[in-house]
Structures are given as C-alpha cells and as structure tokens.
C-alpha cells in the first residue's frame, strides 16, 4: 500500500490559475453533457496530464456555475452503463459567458506574452 502523500504525482503538473477552472469546465461542456468525472478526465487527458483538476475545487465550481445558471444539471442514465449520473450541460447564458471569458483570457495571455517575450526591436 502506497503511503505517498501526493496521489498520482505527475512531474509536469501545473496548478490551475485562479479563475481559469470555470472557463475550462464551460469549454469542456461545449462538446456535450458530461458528469463530474468525465469533465476532470477530459481536462487531464487533453492537457496530457499537465493540468490536474483538484476535485476539492471541481465540485464546488460545478455547483457555483449551476447556481449562476451557466450550466444546468440533470440525473441521466449513462449510455454505456445502466445507472444514472449527474450530467451537467451548458446553458445559453453559459455559452455567452464562455466566449466572454475566452476573449478575456486571450487578451491576458497576449499581454503576458508581450511582457515575457517582447517582439524583437521593442526591447530597449
């Protein structure tokens, strides 16, 4: 039995930036309804294990988004097995929110990039 404190340590793991989790969840749900486990697996797999969603923040985030009516939840039977899971799906408001956050994020990323890697000639 492993006594390691950090489960599944991933050497390249990066902590999520504050506020980005909501965006990632909304983006994940753009593909269609998913339950909590699927969302976290999707984020992990698409970032090749770089982004590890803390479950301690995933579920509060899901409930918060639901409260803000950006996503809605319903208990539905899974396609591949004979039981119900709580599926989240994007609402129209959530879609709008996603595009807003996306453009914010783009501007932020560009701004950070322009500080970190200034275009040649701009450096004095």
């Amino acid at each position: 039995m492993s006594t390691s404190a950090m489960p599944d340590p991933s050497p390249d793991r990066i902590d999520l930036l504050q506020g980005t989790l909501d965006m990632l969840i909304l983006r994940t749900l753009l593909f269609g309804p998913a339950h909590g486990h699927q969302i976290s697996r999707h984020i992990r797999q698409t970032t090749k294990d770089v982004l590890q969603v803390e479950h301690g923040s995933l579920y509060p985030a899901l409930h918060r988004l639901e409260r803000k009516a950006w996503i809605s939840a319903r208990w539905e039977t899974a396609k591949d097995r004979n039981r119900q899971f709580k599926y989240y799906r994007l609402t129209p408001a959530g879609k709008k929110q996603l595009s807003a956050e996306e453009s914010n994020w783009k501007r932020l990323a560009q701004a950070i990039a322009s500080v970190m890697w200034p275009a040649p000639g701009e450096e004095s």
Binding site: M1, S2, S4, P7, D8, H35, G36, H37, R41, E54, H55, G56, S57, Y59, P60, A61, H63, R64, R67, W75, F85, K86
Partner: protein, 855 residues
C-alpha cells in the same frame, strides 16, 4: 427539505465519482482495494469538498436568518444578566401595551352588540347651542324620519321606566319606547320570540313588550316559555313578544342598561323622541350631517312650531361608551411612552454591547461581512430579546388583564368579555418586532461607524472613545424625559384622586343610610301622603337620629336649571346650570349641613303657591357678593316659564350630588315636588340598635306593599362607588409610570456601569495621581447625571403638554398643578440618585495598582 435532497444528491455525485475513478484504476491493473484507496487519495478531503460545495450553494434568506438567530442567542447566552435586564424591560412594556390593547379592543368591539356598529347613529334636536343632545318633538321626529334619505332605517326612541309586576316582587325597570324601525336598524336576531316590527307600532295596537336578557334571567328565571305571556307594567297589561340577546341593552345613548322595549305608538302620552338609525351603506357621517343641515333649513319653513332646531348626529358607539375612549386613549398614550422607554433601554444596552465588541465587528467587516449582514446581526440580537420580552409580556398581560377586569368591571362596558386572545398575542408579536427594529437602529449605526479596520486595536484596550458616551447620554436623557412625563401624568391623576376622596364634603357621610324609592313616570299617580308616611315611620324607628327626603337625591346628578336673579340680563349673568335638589324639612339637620343664614324649610312651605328656595353660599356669593341673599328672589322654572322664588336660607356648600362635581356649581334647594318621582330617604342612625337595610325595606312594604325599593346602601358606599373609575385609572397609570421610572433608572444604571467599566484605566490613573472622591463623582456625573437632568427638564416641558390630555378626567386639580410637577421631579431625581450609588461605589473601589499592572 430541499436542502436535505441536495445533500443526498451531493453525496451520490461524489460517490459516483469515486467509483468511476476506482473502476478506471482497476482497468489499469490495480487490485480492487488498492484502486479504491487510490481513488480516495486522488480525490483528497471529501468532507472539505462537501463543505466548499455547500458554500457554493450559498444561503437562502431563511437559513441566513436562522444562523443569525443562533448567533444572537449564543452571544446573548454569554451575557445572561444583560439579556435578562433587556428582556424584562421589554416584557413590561409589551405586557402593558398588550393589556391595554386587549381592553381597548374588547371594550370598543363588544360595547355595542350589532353588526357594523359604526353605522349606527343617534340624531338629537337641540334648540340651544349650550344645551346639546336635546329631544325632538314627536312631529319633528316623525318629519325627520320621513324626510331623511341618509338612513336605511331610522327609528324614534326615548328612554322610559316602569313599575313591573310579574316574576316575583314588583320592581322598577328602565326601558325605551321604540318605533317599528328600531330593531331593523340594529340588525340582530332576538334570543327568543320576535322583536317589535313596524306592524306592532300602531296607535291603539296591542300593548307588547320585548324584554332584555338581563331582565329575563333575573326576573323570569330564563323561562323559555315567557314569550306570549302577559306582564303588568305601570298597571297596564303587556304581552311579551320576545327576549333580546345578552348584550343588547348597552345601546342606550345614556350608557345605562335598557331592560325592556315597547312600541312608541302604543304609548298614551305624547313624549319627545330622539332618532336612532343605521346609515345607508356608503353614506358618510359628513354626508348625513350635510343632509340634516339642509333639513334644518326646511324645518324652519315647514314646521313653524319647531323653528330654530339644529340636528346633531352622534355615533351610537361613542355615546354608549361615554368617557371610556378618552380614558383608553390616555392609557394607550401612557403605554406607548412606556414601550418607547423600553425600546430606548434595549437600544442603549445593545449599543453598549456593540461598542464593547468593536474589535469583533471590525474583524467581521475585514473578513468580508457586509454592512447589511452586520445590521442583521444587531437586529437579530434585538429580536431575540424582544421575542423573549413578548413571551414575558404575554404572561404579564394575562395576569394584568385579570386584575384589570376585576378592577374595572363596574364601569367599562364589555370588559367582562376581554380575553388574551390570538389577536392580542399577534399584537404582542408585532410590537416585539417593531421594538426590535426601533431598538437596533442606533446600535447598528454605531457598529457601522465604529467597525472599521483602524478600530481593530481597540478590541484589546479599554478606551475613552466616546462612541457610546454620546449616544448613551442621549438615551438616558430621552428615557428620563419620557419617564418623567408618565410619572407627572399619573401623579396628577393620583393627586386628583386623593383630593377627590379627601374633599371636605360639607356633610357627614358616617352612619347614614340611603334608601332609593322611585315611582316611574306613567305608573299610576301616587299622592305625597305615602312619602310622608314612610318618613314619619322611619323617624320613629329605634336607633334613628333623624331622617329626611331628597329628590332626586344625593350622589345623583340633580336636575340642572338655568338660574338668574329677576330683572338681570343674560349679559350680566351668563347662562349657568345649577343642580337643583328637592328636600324635605330636616334635611340639613340630618345631613349635618349648617344653615348659615335664614332658616330651613317648614312643612307648610311646600304648600305655598310659590314655594321658597334655599341656596348654598356659593350661589349667594355669586349673585349677591356684598349683601345677604336671604329675602332676595331667583328665577325658577315653573309650569309656565320662569317665576321669581324667594330665598329663605343660605347653607354651607356641600357637593351632595357627587364628588365629581366638586364645588364648581352653585346649588339650589327646593321644596319637594307634590308628585313623588325619584326619591331618597336619608336615615341618620345612632347607637347599637341602628336599623338594618332590611328594616328600612320593611317600613316601605308596610306603608305600600306594591312599592319596590330600588336600593339601600350606606352613603360611604355610594361615595366610594362613585370614584371606582378614578381609582381604576389611577392604579393603571401609576403602575405604568413606576415601571417606566424603574426602566429609565435601569438605563442610567447601565450607562454609568459601562462608563466605569470602560474607563477603569483612566480612573485608576486618576486615583493614582491623587484624584479625590469628589473629582471622580464629578467625572461620572459628566456622563449620566447631566444627561438625566437634561432629560428631566425636557420631561417637565413635555409633561406640561401631555397632562393636557388628562384634562377631562380631572375634577379636583388643574392639569398643570405646579406642586405635583415638582413632587414628581423630586421623586424621580431621588430614585435616579439612588441608582447611581452602585456604579459610584464600583468606581471608588477601582484599585489603581491593579489597573496599572494591566497596562
């Protein structure tokens, strides 16, 4: 419930996640147990996650309130003494106001037993502005009934009385002549049989009568077979039509019970009437007044014999209640002030707490509590206190209602029906919520102002910050002002009462029996011989020192007449109504009223064509200030207008018609009316063998077996019965004001204690550097005492205005009686000073060494 479901779903959601995770790991090759543990590890702290999710759910308003309430309770349970003081204060205020609410509601609601009693009105005709509520002549009453369109039913009615035979001994009963519309206007159903209808009210119709519930139970043993049975009234046979409900009798405009009703048209005598009716639905009083005003003008043209009459519309409920609403208003004002003091007190106590918790409040603000939330917290503390107060108040109201009902039962109509019902409890609850709101405004404001980050360091140190100091001083001042207003008001009432009771009567009320005998108007006429015979036999009884007759009698409001010396103009002697009492010779001797000048009546005086009169010294001084009144004339009413009557004597002033009239009016004594009506036999007894009430009754029975005796009582008893209402209001207002004073002083006490506790440091240092006790007292007085004195100055000014409310309840004192004001202020000051002793001692006991060590 919803929360429970959400919890279940969360539980299931997280379990699903863990299972899926474990499944994934099993598929990757781990053993079942390892996979489960790894999944758990990967997930992290499940309980913490749940907690975060719950936070994400947010709080519903209700949950927030519950949490605030829990917080408030927890905070208060740490300060039991504080909580108990505040809750008790509120309990007193809420208890008192709930009591008055119940009494007012019960009395006003039950006073008149009819649907929508506010639509019922009397219409009076008066030909003199100084003589309101006069009667209308039969022609005029019928004319108004026919012409007025404002009423859905308008009836003629007039109070009468009759000697009733049937159901035991003969007795006198008060009743009313009513026209056929009367019961239709009232709109209630009879308890038995039927009421008088329009077809019963025809001239020459069969004499019928409706009995009151009271009469029916008292005289007919609640016999259900009474309807249809004949009874004899004033020697005439009447058939009983029906019986009215238990509360019907209180509709009389004179505030007396009516025990029977007879159709007006079947009465043989032409009597005047007043009108009684129900306003048409939607017609306002103003509209009715306007219509009657127009009718007045027409009446002058169309009814020449009754020109110049003005019609007066008066609400029936108001007339049935008399002075009661006024008295209730004064009491409501008193409890309002008391409640206000309690609110201020709670406000002060909460402010102290808020100031003491400045550190905690700052911390809450820093940690993100909104100001609204902070206000909620203060409000909920106040609400918890006031709810406890409401519970206590309900208990107090329950107890005090019993006492109130017992005290006031004889003079408040409907008070026997007053209960602590659901409405009263709802009222108590509403008052509690309002009190909590009022009480938390200032503390919340203080919390907002003080609760900034810069104040965090105050938490640990006692401070001289005056945040509470000023608010506290204002609170104390307001409480003292309000408390003093109440105390002054009730001191005035008390003083009025004492003077009333102690008023030199001018006659000797001891060992005097009063027997009332009356011969109802309309009953077979009796000559005065039987009256003289009773008096003669009474004088012969053993143990009787003297006996006399008075009509209508003493402690009864006599007939008020308009008096003036002959030949004097109205300009010189404005209209003045003097009570007139008919007396037999020997009256002054029996009553121990000294004859100052002239002589008493003799037996022959009554037989003169123009009998002489005797006046009291008040009247003598009024009309003839510089000379003797004996031998002068006064204009007295006679069958045809006024005629001069010779004054044969002047006697010492004595308020024989009741203490409430005091010495305000000149008094006229006349000889007895040759036709006996209402009369009192006054019997002065002496020695051990004084006759009993039964003995007096027996004398009457021997002379005239069919003559009922209305009552026999000692004069002392009659006098003390008269002041029952006064005593009732004195008790109530005095207890309110004592409570108010205690509460106000508790407020001062709390503030001073707070000042001492929060300035312990400063006091310690002052003592260390040599401050004397005098210096310290001066320091403390700067806080509480000055405020208290300022409050009392305001209170005196306020009392001056507020006691005016009492004006109509006072008989023996002016509302701004200076000595009473001074006494109230002195008592209040003394109690306030006593209150200061404990905080002062606490201050003087401050140990400078201990204080400095704490630094």
């Amino acid at each position: 419930m919803r929360r429970r479901k959400r919890e279940d779903e969360l539980e299931r959601e997280l379990r699903d996640h863990l299972e899926l995770e474990a499944e994934e790991r099993r598929e990757a090759g781990a053993s079942a147990e390892d996979a489960r543990l790894a999944a758990l590890r990967a997930f992290g702290n499940v309980a913490l996650t749940k907690e975060s999710v719950r936070a994400a759910w947010g709080w519903t308003l209700l949950e927030q309130c519950a949490a605030d309430a829990r917080d408030a309770l927890r905070a208060l349970s740490k300060q039991r003494k504080f909580a108990a003081a505040a809750a008790l204060t509120l309990a007193l205020g809420i208890g008192a106001s709930t009591t008055i609410f119940s009494v007012a509601r019960g009395v006003l609601l039950h006073a008149v037993d009819a649907p929508r009693p506010e639509e019922l009105f009397y219409v009076f005709c008066s030909d003199l502005p100084t003589h309101p509520r006069g009667f209308c002549s039969p022609q005029e009453a019928r004319w108004v009934r026919r012409e007025s369109k404002s009423f859905s039913a308008l009836a003629l009615t007039i109070p009468v009385s009759a000697l009733v035979n049937g159901g035991g001994d003969p007795f006198n009963a008060d009743g009313a002549l009513v026209s056929g519309e009367y019961f239709e206007a009232v709109g209630v159903q009879p308890e038995l049989g039927r009421f008088i209808a329009r077809e019963d009210d025809v001239a020459g119709g069969e004499p019928v009568v409706v009995l009151s519930h009271h009469l029916w139970t008292l005289r007919f043993g609640s016999d259900p077979g009474v309807a249809g049975r004949p009874i004899e009234m004033n020697g005439k046979r009447f058939r009983v039509l029906g019986v009215a409900g238990p509360r019907f009798g209180s509709l009389s405009y004179r505030g007396v019970r009516t025990d029977y009703w007879v159709p007006a048209a079947t009465s043989d005598d032409p009597t005047p009437f007043v009108l009684f009716g129900r306003l048409r639905h939607g017609v306002t009083v103003a509209a009715a007044n306007w219509e009657l005003g127009a009718l007045e003008k027409r009446a002058t043209r169309e009814l020449p014999e009754t020109s110049g009459t003005s019609y007066e519309v008066a609400p029936a409920t108001e007339l049935a209640l008399g002075q009661t609403p006024k008295q209730l208003r004064a009491l409501a004002f008193a409890v309002g002030v008391l409640l206000l003091i309690a609110c201020i007190n709670v406000s002060g106590l909460l402010s102290t707490r808020v100031t003491g918790r400045r550190g905690e409040i700052s911390l809450r603000l820093i940690l993100g509590a909104s100001r609204i939330r902070l206000g909620c917290l203060v409000f909920f503390e106040a609400l918890m206190l006031s709810l406890m107060g409401a519970a206590g108040g309900a208990a107090i109201a329950f107890a005090s209602l019993k006492a109130t009902v017992a005290l006031g039962s004889s003079n408040l109509p409907g008070i026997d029906r007053v209960r602590l019902d659901g409405w009263a409890l709802l009222f108590a609850l509403a008052v509690a919520v309002m009190a909590a709101f009022l009480g938390s405004v200032v503390p919340a404001a203080i919390a907002w102002r003080n609760g900034s980050a810069s104040n965090l360091n105050w938490a640990r140190r006692g401070s001289t910050h005056s945040g509470l100091g000023q608010a506290g001083a204002v609170f104390v001042a307001l409480q003292f002002a309000a408390g003093l207003i109440l105390l002054t008001g009730s001191a005035i009432l008390l003083n009025n009462f004492i003077r009333l009771v102690r008023m030199p009567l001018g006659f000797d009320p001891d060992r005097l029996l009063v027997m009332e005998v009356s011969i109802p108007y309309g009953s077979p006429p009796r000559d005065s011989g039987f009256r003289d015979e009773i008096l003669r036999r009474l004088r012969l009884l053993r143990g009787v020192q003297g006996a006399a007759i008075a009509e209508p009698g003493i402690t009864e409001a006599g007939l008020h007449i308009d008096i003036r010396p002959p030949g004097r103009s109205e300009k010189e002697f404005p209209r003045r109504y003097a009570p007139m009492t008919g007396i037999s010779p020997g009256f002054f001797q029996t009553m121990h009223i000294p004859v100052l000048e002239g002589r008493d009546f003799t037996v022959s005086d009554a037989r003169l064509p123009v009998p002489p009169i005797i006046i009291d010294e008040g009247a003598a001084r009024l009309f003839w200030p510089n000379r003797s009144a004996v031998g002068m004339d006064l204009m007295m009413p006679a069958k045809a207008g006024l005629r001069p009557s010779r004054i044969v004597g002047v006697v010492r002033t004595a308020p024989i018609y009741g203490v409430h009239y005091g010495r305000m009016r000149p008094q006229i004594y006349t000889t007895l009316d040759p036709e006996p009506g209402l009369m009192q036999f006054l019997v002065r007894t002496v020695g051990e063998h004084a006759p009993t009430a039964a003995k007096l009754r027996q004398v009457v029975r021997e002379v005239e077996p069919r003559q009922p005796v209305d009552s026999v009582a000692t004069l002392q008893q009659r006098i003390s019965d008269q002041v029952i209402p006064d005593r009732f209001y004195v008790y109530l207002s005095l207890s309110f004001s004592i409570i108010a004073m205690v509460v106000a002083c508790a407020g001062l006490h709390g503030l001073l204690h707070y000042v001492v506790a929060s300035r312990k440091h400063e006091i310690g240092i002052r003592i260390a550097v040599g401050a004397t006790a005098g210096n310290l007292v001066a320091l403390l007085s700067g806080f509480g005492l000055r405020a208290a004195l300022a409050g009392m100055a305001m209170g005196l000014a306020g009392s001056y205005a507020a006691t005016r409310l009492l004006g109509s309840l006072l008989y023996a004192i002016k509302p701004d009686d200076a000595p009473t004001f001074a006494a109230a202020a002195l008592i209040f000051t003394a109690v306030a000073l006593l209150t200061c002793i404990a905080p002062l001692r606490a201050m003087l006991r401050v140990d400078p060494a201990a204080c400095l060590r704490c630094e």
